[in-house]
């Protein structure tokens, strides 16, 4: 019997020889260094002037300068872009939460024949990536604006060329962002609200409460954990989104941070100092978000991985 051999250490834990342990640690350190070094390298180089960078790409800066940040902030219009990014991220997250949870409540607690086809179509949508539809989305939004603008012009309300509801408009960006986040949000919300006892809803119904009232005062407070999960996984994806806003918006006043950073790789590509500063500005908020919400994000990622 080999039982006594295993009594000496905690169960579920492997015993590795010293050499194996060394190898395992070596592997982990290598991976961790691979993950972090490029980022550290980027941050260090953002404090070098472009001239110093071209002479010394790998070492520490000889003298640290903050000039790149000041320059990049100005040239990139980052004070506008960061505001826009916050607006798009917060707006889309709140919009997604409200629409997804209210629909999820209806799907799981109000019986209807429409639930199967509509909920089913949302589930199929989890598989679809909106990015692959960017060309038709661009055509749809810009052509709808033309159509509506023309219509309003014939009514004599305004000039057609100045009409922007879907294309080059904050509303349009929110709409597309919310639409692409809804399938996952609705799936997570519905699965969660299903587990809330139906008796709660029925009791409130007998007391005469309407469905919206029940949603706001009973269901929503009870679904805060899943709302948190949906929000936590939505925020980084909205903040980092590039492909869609790239085709939805052409005016700088409406652009988000990723678009501003991308501009630095075109016309300003040779000015490495400012480009690095712009990249650091671009990843800073998300690194901060990650350090604050690491635990929740880790949980959210594993909950949100439900494609299919």
């Amino acid at each position: 019997m080999s039982i006594p051999k295993y009594k000496t250490h905690t169960p579920g834990k492997t015993v590795l020889s010293f050499v194996m342990k060394l190898i395992v640690y070596l592997i982990m350190v290598t991976f961790a260094a691979m993950a972090v070094m490029p980022i550290v390298w980027l941050i260090l180089n953002s404090f070098k002037t472009t001239v110093e960078f071209s002479n010394n790409m790998i070492g520490l800066p000889d003298h640290w300068t903050f000039q790149n940040y000041i320059g990049a902030w100005k040239i990139g219009d980052f004070s506008i872009l960061i505001g826009n990014s916050f607006f798009y991220t917060i707006g889309s997250t709140l919009g997604t939460l409200f629409l997804a949870l209210s629909a999820a409540f209806a799907f799981s607690k109000i019986p209807s024949k429409a639930t199967v086809p509509i909920y089913g179509s949302f589930i199929i949508g989890i598989l679809l990536t909106t990015q692959s539809l960017m060309v038709p989305i661009f055509l749809q939004t810009s052509q709808l604006d033309l159509l509506l603008g023309n219509f309003l012009e014939t009514l004599g309300i305004l000039r057609a060329s100045s009409f922007h509801l879907f294309y080059n408009s904050r509303f349009g960006v929110l709409l597309v962002y919310i639409g692409s986040a809804l399938p996952l949000g609705i799936y997570l919300g519905t699965e969660y609200i299903k587990s809330i006892p139906k008796a709660l809803v029925e009791a409130a119904r007998i007391d005469g409460a309407g469905y919206w009232r029940i949603f706001f005062f009973i269901i929503f407070p009870m679904s805060l954990p899943i709302a948190m999960t949906i929000a936590i996984i939505s925020v980084p994806s909205f903040w980092n989104e590039f492909a869609l806003i790239n085709i939805l918006v052409s005016k700088i006043e409406l652009q988000s941070l990723p678009l501003g950073i991308y501009r630095f790789s075109g016309t300003l590509a040779s000015d490495y100092g400012k480009q690095f500063a712009a990249l650091v500005i671009g990843m800073g908020p998300m690194l901060l978000f990650y350090t604050v919400f690491r635990k929740q994000l880790t949980k959210g990622v594993s909950a949100g991985a439900v494609k299919g």
């Binding site: 492997t14 993950a35 972090v36 509509i118 179509s121 590039f242 492909a243 949980k299 494609k307």
Partner: protein, 373 residues
């Protein structure tokens, strides 16, 4: 009866007031674009006003015929398949491997490693693309690092050649040995390497050995050549590497979270029965994670078919379109140069269909082999 009916109407109203806003946005963002995409891919629409402008009409499947005979389309598809493969057979096993190390507590502070390895996944893809684009550029830090390694190697060999030669006696043999270690670089600089290099070396006084060696290193040390990044297939390597770099952490988290859900008593029992590490993986961990692994594979496939932002910011499909993928090709057809909307829409629809086919295939595989739990 009347009362019941009243309740029914109220239920009905509440239901639709809750579902309709979400559903109409969803239709607007996903369903209509697909319909538009189907119609336009069959049409001769070429920009301008879609309604009330220049007339356009449905002309049939010409765009799809063009797609099939377009070498750039096949190249983009091949590159896309590379990305799908590295995602499914690179990210997933690597993520699983690291998750397993942390799960089995082979290293301490599991949370720390997990936290560090997830960092790349949280950074904006645009930042990642530009950052790695600079790293891999012909005059970037990778080239500089390689050059400095080459230069050090060259210097070491120079030192061994000059070892013991304190008086700097320049013989033909010595010059030959130097030329041997330079490879091709000497021929590019000197038209008659043997004579000219000898003359060059004669120009230094014996006290200037260090200066001479430095000059030789600067002049003749072989340089890192990033030309290979202009070749088909090989040019995709940096992109594949970065794909692996930035998303492996996601699957690590996913697998680890699901491993931790496994009842620890099962593991204990297995260990008491003397199960080996390999048996634990193949008999306990893999079977209980099979569903999660399949979901991860599906996630991988639909994500990697749309690696637009990363490649657009890293290479933009260049040089000369050899790193192009489907989404970049679609973008270029629609927005660069003369817009070819029907063609772009055909590609768009192809991406949607292709990802559906791959996902259905994955499901089929799961049903066949995953159901043996």
């Amino acid at each position: 009866m009347v009362n019941n009916n009243h309740v029914g109407i109220e239920e009905h109203r509440a239901y639709w007031s809750m579902v309709l806003p979400a559903f109409s946005i969803y239709l607007f963002v996903m369903a209509f674009p697909i319909v538009i995409s189907i119609i336009l891919s069959l049409s001769d629409y070429n920009g301008g006003r879609m309604f009330g402008g220049e007339a356009w009409r449905i002309i049939g499947f010409g765009q799809y015929r063009k797609l099939v005979s377009d070498p750039y389309f096949w190249l983009a598809l091949k590159n896309n398949i590379y990305i799908v493969l590295i995602s499914v057979f690179g990210q997933l096993p690597l993520g699983f491997f690291i998750a397993y190390i942390i799960y089995r507590k082979m290293v301490r502070c599991g949370g720390f490693w997990q936290g560090v390895l997830y960092v790349p996944a949280i950074i904006p893809v645009i930042v990642i693309g530009i950052l790695w684009g600079i790293v891999f550029s012909p005059y970037g830090p990778l080239a500089e690092l390689m050059n400095s390694i080459y230069a050090h190697g060259f210097e070491d060999r120079l030192n061994s050649i000059f070892a013991g030669n304190y008086n700097m006696v320049i013989t033909d043999g010595l010059v030959h040995r130097i030329l041997d270690i330079c490879g091709t670089s000497a021929k590019e600089i000197f038209s008659n390497p043997l004579v000219e290099l000898k003359e060059f070396l004669m120009g230094y006084s014996p006290s200037e050995t260090t200066v001479m060696k430095n000059d030789l290193v600067n002049l003749l040390a072989p340089t890192w050549n990033a030309d290979f990044l202009n070749k088909r297939d090989i040019a995709m390597l940096p992109i594949l590497f970065v794909t692996l770099w930035c998303w492996t952490g996601t699957y690590l988290i996913l697998f680890l979270a699901n491993m931790q859900k496994i009842d620890p008593q099962i593991l204990e029992a297995a260990q008491i029965d003397g199960a080996s590490e390999g048996q634990i993986v193949s008999r306990i961990i893999l079977p209980s994670l099979s569903g999660v692994i399949m979901n991860a594979a599906i996630l991988c496939i639909s994500g990697s078919l749309n690696a637009f932002a990363l490649i657009q910011s890293m290479t933009a499909g260049g040089p000369a379109r050899i790193t192009q993928v489907l989404s970049i090709y679609m973008y270029e057809s629609a927005f660069m140069g003369a817009p070819d909307y029907p063609y772009a829409n055909a590609i768009s629809l192809f991406i949607v269909m292709f990802s559906f086919i791959l996902i259905v295939l994955t499901r089929k595989i799961e049903n066949k082999w995953g159901g043996k739990e």
